[in-house]
Amino acid sequence: MSKADNKDTSEQSEFRSYCQDWLAKNHPGRPDVKIPQGALELSDPAALAWLQTWQKSAYDAGMIGCDYPVEVGGGGKTDCQAIANQEMQRAKTPYLPNIIGMGMAAPTIFFHAQDDVKAELLPKLLSGEDIWCQGFSEPGAGSDLANQQTFAERDGDNWVINGHKVWTSLAHFASWMILLCRTSKDDKYNGLSYFVVPIQSVIGNGVTVRPLIKMTGETGFNEVLFENLVVEDRYRLDEVGAGWKVAMTTLAHERGAGPLVTPASGGMSLEEGTSVSTSSTLSLINLARNQNRNGKTAADDPIIRDEIIKLVIRQESMRQNGRRTAIPSLTDHPMRIPLQGKLVGTELNQDMAELAYQIEGAASSLNVTDDNAPAGGQWPLAYMNSFGITIAAGANEVQRNILGERVLGLPKSK
C-alpha cells in the first residue's frame, strides 16, 4: 500500500522531479497505429509492439519496477512506484501493455519464486519484452478458483501438465503464464500448486492457444490447452501444495490490496476527435446533451438527469474512497475499502452503460459498424463488455462474500 503521509520523502521528492524532467523530454507522442482502449483488448501486433517500445523506454528510465530490488531488474527504491505512476498519468503517457505481468505475475514471482527464477524472469517482465498471461480460470473453475482441474504430475525434476484454461487475456501474445493447477486430488485447497510456464516457445509442443469469442463478437480472450507440457521443477513457486496461498498474493495485488504498487501509466487520449470514454460520466453527460428525447435533449429529461447524477456521485465517491484509503486512521479495517474497488468500479461502469441505452433511445439498436450509431456504438458495446468484468476475477457475488466475511467478519456462505 502507498504511504499515508501527505508529503513526499526526500527520495520520493527527488525521484518525482527526475520523472517530470524525463517525461517532459521523452513522451513517445501519438502512436502511428490504432491502439485499443486497454491492454486486454490488444489484437494488432503492431499496436502491441508500439506499446512495448514505450514500456521498455519507461523501464530503462527507471520508472517501472522502481520499488523492486536491483538484483531482479528493479530500481531498488522505496515507495517510488506510486510517484512514477502519478507523474506518468500527469504527463498523459500511453498505457503499459504488460499489465498482467506487472500487476499479478511480478509480485507473485517476487514473493514466492527461487532467486534464480526471479533474476531470470523479472527484468524482461518489467521491461515489457516478455508479455505475461494468467492461467486461473477453467471451464469448471470460474469464481470457485480452488476447483482447479488442470493437473501437474511430478516426473523426476519435471512436471507434466495437462488441462484446459479459459478466459486467458493476452495469451496469444504471451511468452509466459502464471499457472495454478492441481497436484493432488485429495485436498481441494492444499492440493494446488503454482507454476510459471512458458507459452509462446512451446506452442505446438504441449500448448495450444485458441481465441474465445465474446457475446459482442469480439475476440481478446483465449483458451489455452495443455497436453503433456513438461516444465522444470524450478518454475514452481513456493512449496508443492501451497498454490492457494500463492494465488492469494496474486489476487491481493490484482485488487490493489497487495504490498507492491503496480506500475501503471496512461492518460493519453487514444481516439482523436471522437474520444468516447465509456468509463466517464462526463462522456455520458455529453451523450445526453447530443441525443434527442421527445423534443428536448436527453440532458433535459429530469429522470435521465437524476440517473446521471446518481452515477456522478458514485464515481466521485470512488475517487474519494481511494483518497481515504491512503489515510489509515480514517478506516476501521485496512482492507475495507481496497476490497470494494473491483465491485463498485465494475458495477458503476455497467450501470453507466445501461443508462446509455435510455439516453440513446431507438439509436441504441445500432452496432459499432453502423455509421449512424451515437458515439460510434461504443456504449452498448461497453454494456455488453461490462459483464466480462462483473463476472471475471471472482464474480461480484463472490466479492460481496469476501467483503462480508473478511471485513465484516460474517460466517462463510458455503
Binding site: 465474446k214 457475446m215 463478437g217 435510455q358 463476472i391
Partner: protein
C-alpha cells in the same frame, strides 16, 4: 370502466392458438437452430445480413397467423388482441426472426384508419403480406406527430427511420406530413422510389432499416390530420405486442438460467443454492409475472375497455421494459464466463430484450406519460 372479462378474453380459441404456437416453435425453432441461423458469423464487424427462415414464414401464413387480428369483414379471423399477444409471447420465447409482430402492429394501425384502402390492405395481410410500420423520424422520437417524410400529389419524399423487419416486409405503412399534418400511406417495398438502407443492428434476431423515398407513389390510408390519430389509437395494441415479446423472452432467460443454476457447481454447491443467485432469479420471476399480467390486462382493455387501454398499455410496456433489461443482465451474470460467450444462446435473447426496451418508448417515457394521466400534467 367497462367490465373486462375475468379471463382477459383467453377463451378456448385463444388458448388453442397459443398451444399450437408453442408446439410450432418447439418443433421448429430451438434456440440452437436460431443460433445457427442468425449467429453464424460472430465478427463484430460482420456484414449486414437479414437472416430468417422464409419457409417457416410461409407455414405461419398458411396457419393463418397473419390473419388473427384482421377483422372478419376484411377477410381475417377477427380474434381479439389477446390472441396476438399470446402468439407474440411465444415468438419472444423463441427469439423468432419474422415480420409477424410488425405485421400485427401494422394491422392495428390499419384497423384504426377505417378507410377502404386500409380495409383492402388488411385483406392482404390476412393473405400473408408482411407489413411494417414506417412512422419514426431520424431522432427516434416516440411522438406520433413526428416524421421526416412529406407527401405531395400522392408522392412520398424524405427518409423514415428505425423501420422494424424492413427487409422482411412486403409493404410499409408510412407516416408523412402534408401542410404540417400527418397522414398514413401504403407503399410496396419494391415500389419505385423506395430505397431500403439496412441499419447494422446489434439484435441478431431482427432487421431494421431507414428507408429513403424519392417521389415514391403511395396509397392514402388516412388523410393528413388523421394519421397520427390512427397511430395513437393503435399504440396501446402495439405496446402490448412488444411487451408480450419481452415477457416471452424474459421467461426463456429465466428458465434457461434456472436450469444452468441447478447444474453448474461452484464451491461444491449448485449455483442455485446460493441466495445471491436464487433471490435475484426470484426477483426476475416477480418482474416477469408483473409484466405478463399487466400485458394481458392491457390487451384485454384494448379489446373490451378502450378508455383504459392507453393507461394499461403504458403500464405494461414500462414494466416489461424494465424487466427486459433485468432479466437479460441477470441471465448473463449468472451464466458466468460461458454466458459471456458467443456460443451461449443467452446473448440472442439479451440483445433482443435490449432492442425491445426502447421500441416505442422506454419505461421512463411511459411512466412520465402515466404521471400526466394519473397525477395531472405538472405545473
Amino acid at each position: 370502466m367497462a367490465e373486462q372479462p375475468k379471463n382477459f378474453g383467453f377463451g378456448e380459441d385463444e388458448t388453442m392458438l397459443r398451444d399450437s404456437a408453442q408446439k410450432f416453435f418447439l418443433d421448429n425453432c430451438s434456440a440452437d437452430k436460431i443460433h445457427g441461423l442468425v449467429a453464424h458469423d460472430h465478427n463484430v464487424h460482420r456484414s449486414n445480413e437479414c437472416l430468417w427462415d422464409k419457409t417457416l414464414w410461409q407455414q405461419i401464413v398458411e396457419l393463418g397467423w397473419t390473419a388473427v387480428c384482421v377483422p372478419e369483414a376484411a377477410g381475417g379471423v377477427g380474434m381479439p388482441l389477446v390472441a396476438a399477444v399470446a402468439l407474440a409471447e411465444e415468438i419472444g420465447k423463441a427469439a423468432f426472426p419474422s415480420p409477424l409482430l410488425s405485421t400485427y402492429s401494422a394491422t392495428f394501425v390499419l384497423n384504426a384508419c377505417q378507410s377502404d384502402e386500409a380495409t383492402k390492405a388488411l385483406g392482404e395481410i390476412a393473405g400473408g403480406k408482411a407489413t411494417s410500420l414506417a412512422v419514426t423520424n431520424q431522432q427516434g422520437s416516440w411522438e406520433t406527430t413526428d416524421t421526416d417524410v412529406s407527401i405531395d400529389d400522392g408522392k412520398l419524399n424524405g427518409v423514415t427511420y428505425f423501420v422494424q423487419d424492413a427487409r422482411k416486409a412486403d409493404q410499409f405503412v408510412v407516416s408523412a406530413k402534408h401542410d404540417g399534418e400527418v397522414g398514413l400511406y401504403l407503399i410496396d417495398s419494391n415500389a419505385d422510389g423506395v430505397e431500403i438502407i439496412p441499419d447494422n443492428i446489434i439484435d441478431l434476431t431482427r432487421d431494421q432499416a431507414h428507408i429513403r423515398f424519392k417521389n415514391a407513389h403511395a396509397i392514402e390510408l388516412a388523410a393528413p390530420g388523421a394519421g397520427d390519430k390512427a397511430i395513437n389509437e393503435a399504440m396501446p395494441a402495439i405496446l402490448c405486442i412488444v411487451s408480450a415479446d419481452m415477457v416471452g423472452a424474459g421467461e426463456w432467460l429465466l428458465q434457461t438460467t434456472v436450469e444452468y443454476a441447478k447444474t453448474r457447481v461452484q464451491f461444491d454447491r449448485p449455483l442455485g443454492f446460493f441466495q445471491a443467485v436464487k433471490h435475484p432469479l426470484v426477483n426476475v420471476m416477480l418482474d416477469i409475472d408483473r409484466a405478463k399480467s399487466l400485458t394481458y390486462n392491457a390487451a384485454c382493455a384494448v379489446d373490451t375497455d378502450a378508455e383504459n387501454a392507453e393507461k394499461f398499455a403504458r403500464m405494461a410496456k414500462s414494466q416489461a421494459g424494465d424487466m427486459a433489461v433485468f432479466s437479460s443482465s441477470r441471465a448473463v451474470q449468472f451464466h458466468g464466463g460461458i454466458g459471456f460467450t458467443w456460443e451461449c444462446y443467452v446473448h440472442l435473447f439479451f440483445k433482443r430484450q435490449m432492442h425491445n426496451q426502447v421500441l416505442y418508448g422506454d419505461a421512463k417515457y411511459h411512466r412520465a406519460k402515466l404521471a400526466d394521466m394519473l397525477i395531472g400534467v405538472a405545473a
